[in-house]
Symmetry: C2
Subunit: 144 residues, 2 copies
DNA sequence: ATTAAATAGGACAAAATTGTCCGATATAAA
DNA sequence: TTTATATCGGACAATTTTGTCCTATTTAAT
């Protein structure tokens, strides 16, 4: 469904958010350990998220990544996904047709639109804050 | 959502089914033209579908691909997808966790299960026959 | 039998994705 | 001011996916 880069990006953002809520800025090293991802690849993805203003990065000693607390509730899963994978996943044709639409649909157009619309709604309605809730109390996990 | 190979596979199967209903066996060349796909790559995918008994292939002069008419209603979209992409798309974790399940879920486990279950139901309930219906009357398309 | 036309399958090539390494740059602390 | 510790970003490498080409094999028709 999503690329590896996107999966790591979501997990990283969620971890950063969970720590930002405790006023902790976290390093790349810590992030990669906590989400079990390849560190250098994760660095690239964090750069992308930083350029897209989804996470804040601070260079230099005691630097790292963080997200403003008031942003954590505002940032939706969709923003992370669109920043890394684009919106093909919730907008594109299931059979790969470039110009598939309701006027010139592929044979599964309507059925896919239904699924994709639900996916789209889910992504656009799920906030980073929601995703951190279970983490704190050990109900949800970001590795393995 | 699906790989290119899978998209071509679905489109090819649908075209073969539509022509089999008219008792026409079709060649690789015709298929690739009608679904606008790279011919040699499409050949590989058809071999896979043939080995998985989703399409029948006939070698030699006047050979080509076909699907038994009584099978066209029985073959579901899910069989094609699983044969080419596996069932990761309807079973795997949205964040790429290997051991994600309801006991040790990722932060979006429940939300993804809901989407994936619907996708799974749709794939398993959509027959090749259904997909050919609009084609005949020019209501649906397999290229561009 | 020979030939023409078709799929099967192996080897190879190109492109995209995933992943690594290292020097440049920025910043806090000594 | 120097040093230690971060991220940034460019170049490179490995792997996977996508795509091509060519020969072998099969089959129908001549």
């Amino acid at each position: 469904m999503f690329s590896k880069a996107c999966e790591y990006g979501i997990r990283a953002s969620t971890y950063i958010a969970s720590q930002s809520l405790r006023n902790r800025r976290v390093s790349l090293k810590e992030i990669a350990e906590e989400i079990d991802s390849p560190i250098a690849f994760t660095a690239k993805i964090l750069q992308q998220l930083s350029r897209n203003r989804i996470v804040d990065s601070v260079k230099g000693s005691a630097g790292g990544f963080q997200i403003e607390n008031k942003q954590i509730e505002k940032i939706k899963l969709s923003e992370i996904v669109y920043a890394i994978d684009g919106n093909e996943v919730s907008m594109g044709c299931g059979l790969g047709l470039k110009k598939c639409n309701s006027n010139k649909p592929c044979p599964v157009h309507d059925k896919f639109v239904k699924i994709r619309d639900e996916l789209k709604m889910m992504l656009e309605n799920t906030s980073l804050y929601e995703m951190t809730e279970g983490l704190e109390v050990g109900l949800t996990y970001l590795k393995r």
